[in-house]
Symmetry: C2
Amino acid sequence: MNSAPGRAAGAASGGTYDDGVTEAAALTSVPDGGPDGEGGTLADLLSARIAAGEFPPGRRLSETALAQRFSVSRNTLREAFRVLAGQGLLEHVPHRGVSVASPRVGDVLDIYRVRRHLETGVLARADVGHPSVDRMRAAVAAAGDAVAAGDWAGVGTANMAFHEALVSLSDSPRLLRTHRQLAAELRLAFLVIGDPQTLHGRFVARNRSVLDTFAADGGPAAARELEDYLTESERTVLGAYARLGLG
Amino acid sequence: MNSAPGRAAGAASGGTYDDGVTEAAALTSVPDGGPDGEGGTLADLLSARIAAGEFPPGRRLSETALAQRFSVSRNTLREAFRVLAGQGLLEHVPHRGVSVASPRVGDVLDIYRVRRHLETGVLARADVGHPSVDRMRAAVAAAGDAVAAGDWAGVGTANMAFHEALVSLSDSPRLLRTHRQLAAELRLAFLVIGDPQTLHGRFVARNRSVLDTFAADGGPAAARELEDYLTESERTVLGAYARLGLG
DNA sequence: TGGCGCAGATTGTTGAACAACGTGTTGCGC
DNA sequence: GCGCAACACGTTGTTCAACAATCTGCGCCA
């Protein structure tokens, strides 16, 4: 997977982030322990900015420019780069710098393969009375509200919260960590496509349905439904990639 | 400075690594592309040393001491720390430094849970004609040779090669990456116990058996056998932990 | 047109310095 | 003696300036 410069989405060119603006960010370097939110570390801040689309996939990140931008030293920034590269959010090529990862078709295939493997396995073995079921329910409700409000970004985060809660059914920190990384990478793929409505809008009902099946008929039945759901989602993403000429 | 007096062997237990010895390591910072081996980056070098038991689990790693030891700057070392911490090999507590991760019982449980989930799932869906089957066979043979030679470290690496080849059956880079990290963490647990013969010796025959079942009866049957195998391995590790008073 | 070499820009790394934080110790009061 | 606050020390966090190593783009020449 050489770093073919993902010039994918047209959005890449527009973002002139290199205007002389410097942001003074309050970085504590100590995790604030909050359950969610962007955290206090530079890596978390960068991660949030990437997820927000401020640095589109494929964008090259200059050390000096970004260091000035965030009012940190190059060395500190490089440490954050290593963390994010380890999470698959950044691609690091020695002597050629880092750029925001730009998932290719092969990556999308792999991500969905692992997601299917992971999520269906968890759901099939899960206990219907697990506390995370409430979180799944809350996420479904939040997604519904967001849809009603036309807040597609909110739909996206609620959708991700649903699947994260689903993986939490396993009570496995490592499974959850792996899934978080997958979700972050997948979000990059969504940014490549750049059409949140098509991507997330159709699946809020499916989330609810999976949850209902889980409550009524148990894990294995819900897992089968989830597998179809994920495959359809994969097809949607791949279709969008093909339409963009990234096949 | 290029002496490199290789005092490796036997240094494991006492581990007074803070004698003024400085090792000049040839670090290229560009991955040498080799399929195995310790690679050229500082992070890879550190990782190999940790795996070799030179820095035992729980050991605190002083920045200035290690930087001198490897003849690198503190900043460079800190970048390597971030990489390894992202892989779960090091624990990083802000303002308190990094130490070699020391898996607790809960970690062992989680690692084996994920391994079962991952490896059995892969094996159940795998194709009997997959090229990695040859690698599995080679690993089994290598393990047999190592047992015959009494080379328990060799048995351990061959065992790990077997399971890595098994996961390769999925053709999924991300699954493979996750498994590599799990294996690295598990190796730390083995270092905590420190009895390679008991841990690896018993399982070479089981590897061969799983492989034969896979070839003869297909993936699902082999997966069932593998699950029992992993559960027994987990029990062995947990038993050793309990015996050490780490329960 | 196509390859060559050079200059500029960027990354990789170093060393020193200081700030911020944790930790262990000292000394005091009780 | 015991508990507790102030202090000194060591370590980590971060910055800065500099240089080496490497990549990239451009002009040049055949």
